[in-house]
Amino acid sequence: MMAQPATAQPATPATIDPQTVVADDPVLAARPENRVWKKFRSHKSAMLGGFLVGFFVLMAVFAPILPIPDPTATDWGAVRKAPSAAHWLGTDEIGRDVLARLVWGARASLMAGVVSVGIAVAFGVPLGILAGYFGGWTDGIISRCTEALLAVPFLILAIALAAFLGPSLTNAMIAIGLSATPVFVRLTRGQVISVKAEDYVEGAHAIGLSTPKILSRYIFPNILPPVLVQATLTIATAIIAEASLSFLGLGQQPPAPSWGSMLNTAKNFLAQAPWMAMWPGIAIFLVVLGFNLLGDGLRDALDPREH
């Protein structure tokens, strides 16, 4: 829809903003996704969340071309230096530039967030659809397993799995993803149960559509909005989990930078070099806040009751 030609160019913005064009065109604005866009754009905290997330994403994407030192290069002449013109955010205990490590650490954090939630969605949503749609013993088995996993606290489960799989960023992502799966199974199952009672699903049966078609075209698209919201919010949780695992030494391995492992080393120098802990702490706080605001905004924008 973004590719729509800008026929109705609005008067105010000098540059053509595709979103404004969409929102101003009465035909396009009537489509649900555009209504959602419009609502999302008027949601101030969601836009702030989007801005924060966007900022960190750009930072992670452009890490290699930003004018920053190598994040693993040590400088024994500048150990634990406070922020200065040479090192904007200071240096750590072996003289590495904190800003560079923060920027490269964003890659680990965001990737952990996105990949682990991707794993959780990839496993959780199909299982939830099977459980919700077919019911009976299929539902029984899937739901009991889900409940058993949900009985264990999320982080404990992730730590146990990561320890079992062995310390590495990949294993940490798998561990976090599997630990977050039950939430998606539960959410999807509930949504499917409500959507499958809709008239249009009965209608689909009456046309004689096959079960795979009904699942993929009638059930899946209509359960997507809440799953999307949950996924956004879970990215925030997953980023904290990755930081926690890295803090415990179960995630990103040195010397590669990660916010969690930066905090881990920083804790030994809190009194002498507080900036070492402060910056990754702030980064985690902001990116998690960003994803949470974004998720809340999406939830409000996708809520049909509030139109």
Partner: protein, 328 residues
């Protein structure tokens, strides 16, 4: 007329865990180019009958006691899910009561119709879309090429019901089951939709089962009428006979409870009470608890007996006029 399009014999089923049948041994037939109206108040079993014919009742919760369906010469039982599934959407189609919620909100209407075509014709996407445009034009949707790309929420209720009809008829079904297709629509739109169905029926020669509680609709379109009460057909016959000469007290009660514009103003008559719920059905005639003519004989079940050629009523006192004369 000897072999009708659809003949249903002694259809009987109950839902798991219920002590009595929801539909108890009903029979009816629909010929090509004919419209059978199934009439009755809410909860009398008319919608579940339609769903049973389409094989749309949840398999694990329905128990068929008996029944035989003969469709165009083929004979099978209502629990023969594979046979029914093979015909569903292809040789028999159904439209529902709620056009507002019966279309998938996540897809353009053109894609939905095309999908129904593709499923059964195994033709390519382009052919299916062509057919969808043709169907939209046939159901009277202006500028069908553009409408194809619209989402259901952009259409009015009447338009959506037209889309539903287009989708149902896209594969040229021989039988159309319409479950109160006009109940949710404005009166003016109702008439348009009924006209449309009648028109399409005349073009294609399909048989139609119309489920409704609106006697106005019945009078307009029915060839035959089956009056259902508490899971049984209590009166069955040609529409004219049912309207001019109703023989079952329940049918008479239904007719009397339609408001009229002409004649002296009077209090609208009603049938007192409501349909007894499953498990609380009287032993004999199920209408006896609400019937003004109820007598001890009604403790035994009346047969659906012929009162005039082709016109049958399940009442010990039918034909009623003779009974009334005798009493007077």
């Amino acid at each position: 007329m000897d072999s009708p399009l659809l003949q249903v014999e002694n259809l009987k089923f109950r839902f798991r865990g219920q002590p009595q049948d929801v539909v108890e041994g009903i029979s009816f037939r629909v010929g090509r180019n004919e419209t059978l109206c199934i009439v009755g108040e809410s909860g009398c079993g008319k919608s579940v009958t339609a769903l049973a014919l389409m094989g749309l009742l949840p398999r694990d919760s329905v128990r068929f006691g008996s029944g035989e369906i003969r469709f165009d010469g083929d004979s099978f039982t209502p629990s023969d899910h594979d046979r029914i599934a093979a015909m569903r959407g292809d040789r028999m189609a159904m439209i529902f009561q709620e056009p507002m919620t019966s279309l998938n909100p996540a897809f353009r209407i053109g894609d939905q119709i095309a999908e129904a075509v593709e499923q059964h014709r195994k033709c390519g996407k382009a052919k299916a879309r062509e057919r969808a445009v043709e169907m939209l034009r046939r159901v009277g949707i202006p500028a069908p090429e553009q409408r194809m790309n619209e989402y259901p929420h952009q259409l009015s209720g009447g338009m959506r019901q037209r889309v539903m009809i287009a989708m149902a008829l896209a594969n040229d079904p021989e039988l159309l089951i319409a479950d109160e297709p006009t109940t949710a629509l404005d009166v003016t739109v109702q008439a348009q939709i009924l006209d449309l169905i009648a028109e399409l029926q005349a073009e294609t020669g399909m048989g139609t089962i119309m489920i409704t509680h609106d006697l106005g609709v019945v009078a307009e379109i029915a060839t035959d009428v089956a009056v259902m009460y508490a899971g049984q057909v209590v009166e069955y016959g040609p529409a004219e006979a049912i309207f001019n000469d109703p023989q079952h007290p329940y049918t008479i009660g239904l007719m009397a409870s339609v408001p009229t514009l002409t004649g002296p103003r009077r209090r609208l008559s009603t049938v007192p009470g409501s349909v007894p719920s499953i498990g609380q059905m009287p032993e004999g005639c199920r209408f006896s608890s609400r019937c003004p003519f109820a007598a001890p004989v009604c403790a035994s079940r009346p047969e659906l007996a012929e009162v005039a050629p082709g016109h049958r009523a399940a009442c010990h006192f039918a034909p009623l006029d003779q009974t009334l004369e005798r009493r007077a």
